[in-house]
């Protein structure tokens, strides 16, 4: 990460502008145990109370880093029931990073956030349709399978 991803200008600028970057050694007690860190790199999105909302384990190339961070920011807002802001982050992943491994999950949670905000199950069917059409081999297409039954 230090050799390839963090020196990338877009990655650096994104992190500096949008996040508070915190770096902890993987053997630092008690934090490493508290977060059950067993492998590195291990990147975790935290809210301002220190609660975890998204985790990525293993190397990420520069082109995957920003969509993963946006997904984590969206999932944090989703967990905090701030659905409008969550959808804004998910939309940025969906619109700007169509080839990213984070995009199918962003589509999934974008639909769930819309459903939780409105109570209308229609967006869940939209999640199934979109994932089945554009990312049929993703695990998130499988997770959305029950939504195909929504009328």
């Amino acid at each position: 990460m230090d050799a390839v991803t963090y020196p990338d200008e877009d990655v650096t600028n994104f992190i500096q502008e949008h996040l508070i970057p915190l770096r902890i050694r993987s053997n630092q007690k008690p934090l490493a145990d508290d977060f059950k860190v067993t492998w590195t790199p291990c990147l975790i999105a935290l809210d301002n109370e220190g609660k975890e909302h998204h985790r990525s384990v293993g190397f990420l190339p520069p082109e995957e880093m920003i969509p993963m961070l946006l997904l984590g920011m969206g999932k944090t807002r989703f967990d905090l029931e701030d659905y409008d802001r969550a959808m804004t982050y998910f939309d940025r992943v969906i619109d700007a990073y169509t080839q990213s491994g984070s995009t199918p999950e962003a589509i999934f949670f974008r639909g769930v956030a819309q459903y939780k905000k409105s109570g209308d199950p229609g967006p869940l069917k939209g999640v199934y349709d979109t994932l089945n059409d554009k990312y049929p081999d993703s695990e998130w297409a499988k997770r959305a399978q029950p939504y195909r039954l929504i009328g």
């Binding site: 990460m1 230090d2 963090y6 020196p7 990338d8 200008e9 650096t12 600028n13 992190i15 500096q16 949008h18 996040l19 508070i20 970057p21 915190l22 770096r23 902890i24 050694r25 993987s26 053997n27 934090l31 490493a32 977060f35 860190v37 590195t40 790199p41 291990c42 990147l43 975790i44 999105a45 935290l46 809210d47 301002n48 109370e49 220190g50 961070l69 984590g72 920011m73 944090t76």
Partner: protein, 33 residues
């Protein structure tokens, strides 16, 4: 020329800055070896 990420190394300091700036925290556990 890209800048450098200004990492914080103290957990509580990072949370305080997150509250102050209305931001979230990116926590990177790294292998020091």
């Amino acid at each position: 020329m890209a800048g450098k990420i200004e990492w914080i190394e103290d957990f509580n300091e990072a949370l305080a800055k997150a509250r102050e700036g209305g931001k979230l925290v990116l926590l990177d556990f790294f292998n020091p070896e």
